[in-house]
Assembly symmetry: D2
Homo-oligomer: 342 residues x 4
């Protein structure tokens, strides 16, 4: 049976990526698309690459008939998302791609996002959407909060190491290189081609990036004690992809073993042979994560590198993975698209 | 019933693109992959982006058991291709992606490729693989010759105009911008990132590009008289995509009408509303072609712009489209993958 | 004696490029910089690449003391430029980089720029800044109007051919590939890295690009009759550079000869040996123009390809070249910077 | 008095970059260029971007008349360099850009470069070319060994911190992002545009990159004890530029203070205000280094980020800086070229 899908905020990159994947998903059908400032427009105007699809015209959210919807993806900006979701029918399954329901602690939300949460009750109900670590909760959840794309990448590299107890919890450094689509379709000078191409720089350094809220919450939960990591994201002149280079203290073999064991049965997680390291080029447009491990010349130090596509595994592919679970579908359905290379 | 597929020359970009698409094709199964210099290697070593697939190890061609193969894609260099195909079982269905069987006239082959054809009988048997214009012949063909990627792009823009008699046959200019993957994975200085990125230049200008052999053959056939076009390809700093800007003499409305009528029922051809022009960004990774038409300020002059992905619609997607027809499968099967943007 | 320079509109790319070149110009000293919305900021904040220079703080135009200025570069948007220049001291030497004084005919200005010119008297006084063709007038001019960057590129390829009478004036087609910095530092969705990189498309096609006003004016003047060209600009995924591929009817040898003769003594114009074509990569960051000629296989048809850097020779380098003439300096002073490659 | 310059190995990127800079150097004149496989060719054929210069034809090294040469830049591959330099006149001033004379300890050379050094006496004579730290020795040196480009970047960030004693010597991590021109003009699959653009990956990880030999030597020398750093280089899809993100243990104010004090009088070193971080985009094509410092949220941890152009400050600009010193010229002569942006 085909499930009826609505996408709120379809005029941004994560919204469009949802449409791209659902286009060949055998059991999902898009019945509503919203785009506030672009209401009334066809998706082919907003995203000409979707021109071949027969899609609903963009509407305002208030004009959507949700009685006809089985599951709603919410790809709105944070803060907007919590306001909108508060007004949706209480029995509607929702996968939220914003930051609004990722942090369980209202104080943490306020700290990282600069204002109080306005839907604290729903925040409690939300399940954190890192599929491989919350699969059972997601299956029965009504509201799933998609992770930050950087937060997902770092967690794939580190979380099994914390669970297995093979690294020093106080010596974790994440140096991350991200493509520009993670910043969305917003009009900012530093996102212009002329400004960005051909160079690289760090941003939100010094422990100020909001995805640290997720790292703190999830790593501390996994460890059973507070874990604070050091995290420096960089913008790389590429459209898609995140590469997280993670510096840990622990034995390379133990680190590699913990990752290989944890992900042995995971359909989207590929742990490379010891000493091989991944590239973002090899996961682009796909839901796969490639993870590599190498020991340093200094004994007891190990580098873990994880690569994924921020728009797919880091956001919209993850959302569909979670939706498959919530709808009782085979979990990889529609998501086995191979990466596009070159 | 799943069809058993062999890919000869799987270590190049078109070979890898075939694997990428077949990965989610419901009725094709890869049973053999060859790569002469890389025989014995796993595809994951040659193309790490295919790591998640369970694929046969690369073999030498002479080690392939073709008794088990329903259809063979041949993604070898020209000249090699004719030699190899001559030795394959006579009843094996073959889609050749090289230039070897595109030109029906042996003299034309020798002129453009610099040496005599060594398999002239098979050359006669081959059907030209521009699917939308040879569909019926392809359905019953044993050997289909994939088109040049530039040749396909130009023909999509021009061929219906010749058929409809709406343009001056002696005044056709094709200015084409191509991505670098069309040059393959060969080690040439001018294909290095440091040489190519951030700039553009013309190559094989002045009527020397080999795809002119295809233009001459096909346009003359469509017109019933000799048609010679002017053709200047350029290399653009992008990996995938071809944009053909075609200058014709004819009325814009007649030109747009002829294209819209010809492609109205074609699943992969999208004619844009009059005055809108396509971008290669909107077809990347897909089998779609976007075509736009605009009239010039000088009466009687019209510009047609066609965009496609050279590796997909210009090569491997086209090959699978043709294979679907040859195997009696629904022709769009496995090919409705949406473009990847951004 | 060092000349005192003001730059109005220093917060855009052409303004910054002026500063970059003047930084090593032995006889120019920047005494004032303006940037309306950024008044009060240091250039190092607006353009960190200029951090090593000791530059005046950005001011508002009305705060500049022009009594201290020998020559003023005006890098403001069109329309703004004419309003500002009208108010400047009447004896101040001015090089305007906007479109405001390029077209001598007020009706042409209104046609291409959509509103009447507000400084018609000054428009008459202005000299068109294509240095190699207006050198004598520029030497004695008070107000020089920098050319459009696309207009310069096309004229370098075509103008000597019209002067020499070696081509058919009614059969000129300019297919142009431009880098993105030509669009300036403006916040537009289609200039974002995620939208632009990795693809190409035509824009302002069909005879609508404003630089056609310059082509019409200058080619008609050179020919002594009306000349209308066909012109299709494309945006290429590169920051700097314009490649104009020009299709003309004429003999290749005559075309090459006319260009070689015309530019034999020009310091910045390099005509390549017959059959060689240029690349934008080889002129980036410099004031040089590379021009190549190749004959087509169809007799009587010739392709001319010209490459330059839109920000340097197409705009700010040209402006400084003109300023050198106006100030009585050696004309290549400060402009012999070699291109940057790779 | 103009100094006569020879460049051995002028057909690679660092050789071409030397020519680019010397093109506008007022006191250097190129009298000989060599390129073994390209002997007999004009530089305009090998590097069309240098077409405007009147340069000697490429020769074989054995054909150069060194009696006419004041200073020789040697831009040959390592191992070749030591063999060639051994045969040069003993009184010729030489700046070597290869790795051959960087390591003072022959055992270290053999360890990192895989074979014994064949010119051990000259190795002892060579001065390490990190200009700001060996200025006095360079002034009187006959043979200066240019540093590795990554090695230079890391040292600019770290060396003053070791000298000032403000960081923990056992906790230094360098995560470096490098442009592709650092790999030279060699024909390798992973340097192709199609392979490299649009993605990023780590290489020579785990303590295997040869520039560690320089870090070990120089940091240990500065500290007066053995210092081993952890170092992970990454290839970024850009042509020029290195960004080193350095993780140290120390107080941010002390770290910033040590860098600001050490570089206060250095013409090419720019320490940004506390909390601001540099970008490779802002140093491209120039001899400048931008360095930024930010404290982490975890007390006692600090991040230092240094950016430079690998071909200029990391190699050929550094070489000319050293040559200026060796020739008694003003040390910034010819090197104040502003970065090219965008």
């Amino acid at each position: 049976m085909t499930h009826k899908i609505a996408i709120l905020g379809a005029s941004g990159y994560t919204g469009a990526e949802l449409v791209r994947i659902i286009a060949t998903h055998p059991e999902m059908e898009i019945v509503a698309l919203t785009g506030d400032r672009k209401a009334g427009m066809a998706m082919a105007e907003v995203f000409p690459f979707l021109r071949h699809l027969d899609l609903p015209v963009l509407q305002k959210i208030e004009d959507v008939d949700f009685s006809n919807v089985d599951l709603c993806f919410c790809a709105l900006p944070h803060a907007t998302s919590q306001a909108v979701i508060s007004e949706l029918p209480r029995d509607l399954k929702i996968v939220d791609l914003s930051a609004d329901f990722r942090l369980r602690d209202p104080a943490a939300y306020e700290k990282w996002y600069g204002k109080p949460h306005s839907a604290i009750e729903m925040q409690k109900e939300a399940v954190y959407g890192l599929t491989e670590f919350y699969r059972d909760e997601i299956r029965v959840a009504r509201l799933v909060a998609g992770t930050g794309c950087n937060a997902a990448t770092g967690q794939y590299a580190i979380r099994p190491l914390i669970e297995a107890g093979v690294i020093d919890l106080d010596q974790i450094v994440i140096d991350l290189k991200a493509g520009v689509s993670g910043a969305g379709r917003s009009l900012k000078e530093n996102l212009l081609h002329a400004e960005l191409s051909g160079g690289t720089h760090a941003y939100s350094a010094g422990g100020t990036h909001r995805h640290l809220g997720e790292f703190d919450q999830e790593f501390s939960k996994a460890a059973g004690r507070e874990v604070l990591v050091q995290f420096t994201p960089h913008l790389s002149p590429m459209n898609r992809g995140i590469l997280a280079t993670v510096y840990v203290r622990g034995e390379p073999a133990a680190v590699h073993g913990a990752l290989a064991a944890r992900y042995a049965d995971e359909p989207f997680l590929q742990v490379l042979p010891m000493g091989q390291l991944p590239s973002t080029r090899h996961v682009g447009g796909s839901n796969f994560v490639h993870i590599g491990v190498i020991g340093d010349r200094i004994p007891g130090r190990t580098v873990v590198v994880a690569a994924l596509d921020n728009l797919t595994k880091g956001s919209s592919g993850q959302a569909i993975h979670n939706a498959n679970l919530m709808l009782g579908l085979p979990e990889t359905m529609g998501l086995m698209l191979a990466p596009v290379f070159p």
